[in-house]
């Protein structure tokens, strides 16, 4: 499943990052590889996700669809 499939308040761990080369690099550079996550808010085109309890980030649906996760 991907991050996009998660509902608000869902949590788990990022398992793999897909997407085109640039998006993939961006997400890896931001430190999303293998980190725990919690979806705080979900909107139509984007979601606010808390990563590792360290930082929150706005993730667009297109990007969320590229992030494979496993739910807690």
């Amino acid at each position: 499943m991907t991050l996009l499939d998660c509902k608000a308040q869902d949590g788990g761990t990022v398992r793999a990052i897909g997407g085109d080369r640039e998006t993939h690099r961006r997400l890896v550079d931001m430190g999303l590889l293998d980190v725990a996550y919690d979806v705080k808010f979900k909107r139509k085109r984007s979601m606010l996700v808390d990563f590792r309890g360290e930082f929150s980030a706005v993730v667009t649906s297109a990007v969320a669809a590229q992030i494979e996760v496993s739910k807690r």
Binding site: G31, K40, K44, R45, L48, E54, V58, A62
Partner: protein
């Protein structure tokens, strides 16, 4: 010694730069405040450069390219890498790449006062092999500590992370020896970046290729994340036992629940409405005070025993022109205070999330909200701030939309006109709504004609909530108020004198004391008929508009030097029509040059044309509606109903065509 100050976005690099160099560069609690390198000397021997924030040495946006190029090819002796204490694991990712690139580095762990657990900096320094300095806004100026650490780092050999000796990397080194020689970068760094398919490195190896040729693809590793995993493993080892387990951030979560919950958009709109009401109302008493002061000084100048033309130059040219603009200083200062408070608290970044869905409909991203709110202060700065937006189309569209959002200089024009004609504050608010509505309408049309299929891939980090620092807010306000005063003292002052000369001297005689024979009348009368259908076809109004291209504040100074609103506008409807035109017409020279810099010269010219047409159409529509409303209400309603019907037919037609096209694409897929 050349020192580069670098790090992830929003870790406090520019605040540190300001403290070390005693500068006043713009800072804020959001990402992308710094968009270009900024250098300043510290003493005789040190040149310190503040670079825009970046997450790694693989650049994706324009500002990240500036940072990467400066670090890799800028010839710096030492890089002072700033990291935030609560985000060390992620922040050290780019730091490790600096080590891979063979750079001498000092690590500055910033915001120590906000640490959510204990941090052992001595242990961290031993593990990483570089000098580490801890700083916070509450500590003294860390200048000496950082410069001493930089000198130590400059004397030492660059540190090599142990994973660079990994057999997978070593095996690839031979392939990159030539590239290492030509670029001056270590072969290990080139090997790692090639495994990650970095375009810039591919270009260096392959000579102009963007990394898509077969040869470049052969360099890419099957496991593109191999370098990243090596780096994170190295960081994990370095941080083991250095950081105490952080405490939870409950307060931020509670605030987010309110500000980003179901009422997020109404809360944002209420906040912006409050900003405008406070700006307009709270500034009124001080403005009136300044206004009466200006009138008194002008009266004193008229009483001076000297030649008539000198008295007129002083009273009607300089004092009326400059004073007419200075009167609005309180409103401008209040607007800057409120927007600085919003930015420094961390709320503005949340706005990007709140408005993302809305802006997507117009081909923009939520990140555009930053630039648009910045545009309330100065459009030129706001256009430059669009650099941080990823996605070329979204970036260009945001830069195009920003000048429609009225800046603080236009606020002075709106306030002056509505004040003179006794119009309510809603007229000023309506101008802001009009500017935004026209921008959104044009963006919608652009999106319909040429849809933006590129997702900007927005993943934007949220800065923490902070109680706004009085020092930072005052610094922002002071810088902008100073810029306003500088414009008044230079452009407005010069334009006031030039306009006074043009309006009081004629070709036939020396000093004519103004009127219909003046030089300005001769020229402006040629253009004035064009504006007659808008209600302000007088040469005085046209002259004010022309000077407004230099800086919008001059519109008011010129009107003041003509003897005030009563001399320029024949009716309230004409004055409101003029206000609408000023709200939408050509941006000032500074904004146009920023547009040319960001989107190209063609785009700047296109912007001039679009603004002029939009301003003309809106003013024409308003003025003629206002005039004919008193003559024949039914006719006006019929005309507007027809316009609405035609617009609806076009919109429905466009939607149907779009839907059919989408179905056809879906069927093909």
């Amino acid at each position: 010694m050349k020192i580069a100050l670098c790090g992830n976005p929003n870790v406090g690099k520019t605040t540190l730069f300001n403290r070390i160099t005693r500068s006043d560069a713009p800072v804020g609690n959001w990402h992308g405040v710094t968009v270009d390198a900024r250098s300043k000397r510290v003493g005789k021997d040190v040149l310190l450069s503040d670079l825009p924030g970046a997450y790694s040495l693989t650049a994706r946006t324009k500002e990240e390219t500036v940072t990467r190029d400066n670090i890799l090819y800028g010839g710096y002796d030492v890089c002072v890498y700033v990291a935030e204490v609560n985000n060390l694991r992620r922040n050290l990712y780019m730091f490790v790449q600096l080590l891979e690139a063979g750079k001498r580095v000092v690590l500055v762990v910033n915001m120590m006062d906000e640490a959510r657990g204990k941090v052992d900096l001595k242990k961290l320094s031993d593990r990483l092999g570089v000098p580490v300095v801890g700083t916070s806004v509450k500590s003294g100026n860390p200048k000496n500590e950082i410069l001493a650490a930089a000198e130590i780092a400059a004397r030492r050999a660059p540190v090599k992370p142990e994973y660079l000796s990994d057999c997978k990397i070593k095996a690839a080194l031979g392939k990159y020896a030539q590239a290492a020689l030509s670029t001056g970068l270590p072969p290990e760094f080139i090997a790692l970046k090639s495994m990650e398919s970095d375009d810039n490195i591919a270009e260096k190896i392959c000579g102009g290729c963007d990394g898509s040729c077969a040869d470049c693809k052969s360099h890419a590793s099957d496991d593109m994340d191999y370098p990243a995993r090596q780096r994170y493993a190295y960081i994990g080892k370095a941080l083991a036992g250095v950081l105490e387990k952080p405490r939870d951030i409950k307060r931020a979560n509670r605030l987010d629940k309110v500000l980003l919950g179901k009422l997020a958009l109404p809360i944002f709109l209420a906040v912006m409405a409050l900003v405008f009401v406070v700006t307009f109302e709270a500034g009124k008493p001080l403005s009136s005070l300044l206004s009466s002061l200006t009138e008194r000084v002008a009266a004193l100048a008229r009483d001076v025993d000297t030649a008539d033309w000198v008295k007129s130059l002083l009273a009607d040219g300089v004092i009326a022109g400059v004073g007419g603009v200075l009167v609005f200083l309180p409103q401008v200062a209040i607007l800057y205070i409120l927007t600085a408070l919003l930015q420094d608290s961390g709320y503005m970044s949340r706005v990007a999330f709140v408005t993302d869905d809305f802006f997507k409909r117009f081909g923009l991203s939520g990140r555009a909200a930053f630039s648009l709110v910045l545009g309330l202060g100065c459009s030129a700065t706001a256009v430059l701030s669009t650099r941080g937006i990823s996605g070329k189309a979204a970036r260009r569209r945001t830069a195009f939309a920003v000048p429609f959002c009225p800046c603080s200089a236009r606020l002075a024009v709106f306030t002056a006109i509505s004040g003179y004609f006794g119009l309510s504050g809603f007229v000023v608010a309506a101008m802001y709504l009009l500017g935004c509505a026209v921008a959104l309408l044009l963006l919608k049309v652009m999106n319909a004609v040429k849809p933006d299929r590129d997702d900007d891939g927005l993943i934007m980090e949220m800065p923490p909530y902070r109680i706004p620092s009085a020092k930072r807010v005052l610094s922002v306000v002071w810088r902008n108020v100073w810029a306003f005063l500088a414009r008044v003292g230079s452009t407005v002052f010069a334009v006031s004198i030039i306009m006074w000369v043009l309006c009081n001297f004629s070709f036939a005689s020396w000093y004519s004391g103004g009127g219909e024979t003046s030089i300005m009348n001769t020229f402006a009368s040629f253009i004035a008929p064009v504006f007659a259908p808008l209600g302000f076809g007088s040469w005085r109004a046209v002259a004010a508009l022309i000077t407004g291209v230099a800086a919008k504040e001059t519109v008011i100074s010129v009107i003041a030097s003509f003897g005030g609103m009563g001399e320029v506008f024949a009716s309230t409807a004409a004055a409101v029509s003029f206000t609408i035109f000023t709200c939408l017409y050509v941006p000032c020279i500074a904004t146009l040059s920023a547009l040319a810099k960001e989107n190209g010269v063609k785009s700047a010219f296109a912007s001039v044309a679009v603004h002029t047409v939009a301003a003309y159409v809106a003013s024409f529509a308003y003025y003629n509606t206002a005039v004919y409303w008193s003559v024949d209400k039914v006719a006006v309603i019929v005309v507007w109903a027809s316009v609405a019907a035609v617009a609806t037919i076009i919109a429905v037609g466009a939607a149907l065509i779009k839907r059919r096209r989408r179905r056809r694409i879906a069927a093909t897929v």
